[in-house]
Symmetry: C2
Subunit: 230 residues, 2 copies
DNA sequence: ACGTTTTGAGGTGTCGACAATTAATGAAAA
DNA sequence: TTTTCATTAATTGTCGACACCTCAAAACGT
């Protein structure tokens, strides 16, 4: 009867797993942003104790995914356009820096892999008219590899652990696909070229410009949204 | 006899306060870096339960101040020169960005306050031969205000909440005072000038250079240290 | 004497329960 | 009908206890 047992990774504690599950639930909008979190209810639905849940919530709070006020409870974070622009600004500075470092540190094999990834993205765009996967997660794949190549574990932690989750959340919530597939792919190619040529300064610059373009896209959308509302 | 009572801020929960106390204890080296943390022992010494302590530890883990491995327990983080350089790199990118934004957003009153702070620092240096306060916390005061002026709450959170604590920890542990008081003050003055003239680009550049100088100081010290060891 | 197993102590992960605080309900007064 | 206050219900903050895991020393066999 052991086969009934759910395969669990013992290298992760229960609260670790709950933390990750909650994170994806929040990011994907299954827990609507701004909604109140009832500890007893949520603990019961996951079949865990409140203490375990609270440990996960403490960590989510540090990652800006939930907001807590003492004696009042926790809420899923609400993302305003202002905060989103703040995040893109940070991403611009850090992403550029990481890309410059990647130009210095990535191995030839890593660069070759990166090129293959872009080829794959290109096929993906042609087949699906640029929808679905590429604009959802493919964009992140690309940026993850560059972070990895920067050899700076702290910047990887900040972006992967913190900011990218918030951006992902935003995209899911507003069902916004990544910006301009062909244009973005072209920019990605140029960035990889700069990395291949070990031109750190150019890689930094191109990555900043790439992210800035995405931010302006958001900003534009914001002005439309505020126009609609009054 | 009310004066004997410790003034507690009821807007903070107990685990919040423990979290802050532990943070400063780690930063100041009262809990040596790399040392193992015994939950029962620590909980008893603070007069709290283990559950409350574990919530605080979860948050400290997210802030890179403690490292946990499942079933093995928590240790105070150990800071290597490599990681410290990583942190300075991030600080260079984010600090520069924040400074550029501060040039755009700070009010005249805030800028005037900032100038007064530098005057105070100058007096401090003359009196104490540049030791003590200014090199410990004064430097942080200056940077905090610029973060405040950037009007980007996320970057403030990342730097104040995360990276500055690690840098502070490093300074305490290696009893390294902030770099070159007179030179640093001069650089601070130039940065404020750029902010006053609303020259965001220059403010960004000067702040990056200022931080890079500090990083090179560290790097130099690292090469000495590695030379000593072999 | 050396390597292996076992057993025990200490520590971590998780849970359920109580105390304190906030929100909800309803009764009384304006 | 609306407002206010009091009482009750629900939720959060905190605690102590139990099960499982890890590590080390003792016991055992070779």
């Amino acid at each position: 009867m052991k086969s009934m047992r759910v395969e669990i990774d013992s290298s992760l504690s229960l609260s670790d797993r709950i933390f990750e599950q909650l994170q994806t639930a929040i990011v994907k909008g299954e827990m609507p942003s701004g909604s109140k979190i009832s500890e007893p209810e949520l603990a019961k639905s996951y079949g865990i104790s409140r203490g375990t849940l609270r440990e996960a919530l403490s960590r989510l709070e540090e990652r800006y995914l939930v907001v807590r006020s003492p004696n009042l409870g926790a809420r899923v974070v609400t993302l305003s356009y202002e905060e989103l622009v703040d995040i893109y600004q940070i991403r611009e500075a850090l992403g550029g820096m990481a890309c410059g470092l990647a130009a210095e540190h990535m191995t030839a094999a890593e660069i070759a892999d990166l090129k293959r990834l872009l080829d794959e993205h290109e096929r993906n765009i042609e087949e699906n008219q640029g929808l679905s996967y590429y604009q959802q997660e493919g964009e992140f794949d690309f940026h993850y590899r560059i972070l990895q190549g920067s050899r700076n574990s702290k910047v990887t932690g900040i972006l992967k652990g913190g900011l990218y989750q918030l951006m992902r959340m935003y995209r899911y919530q507003f069902s916004i696909s990544g910006p301009r597939p062909y244009q973005a792919l072209k920019e990605h190619r140029r960035i990889v070229e700069a990395i291949e040529e070990r031109d750190a300064e150019l890689a930094d610059l191109l990555m900043r410009r790439h992210i800035r373009a995405a931010r302006k896209n958001i900003d534009e959308r914001r002005s439309i949204s505020t126009f609609e509302k009054g």
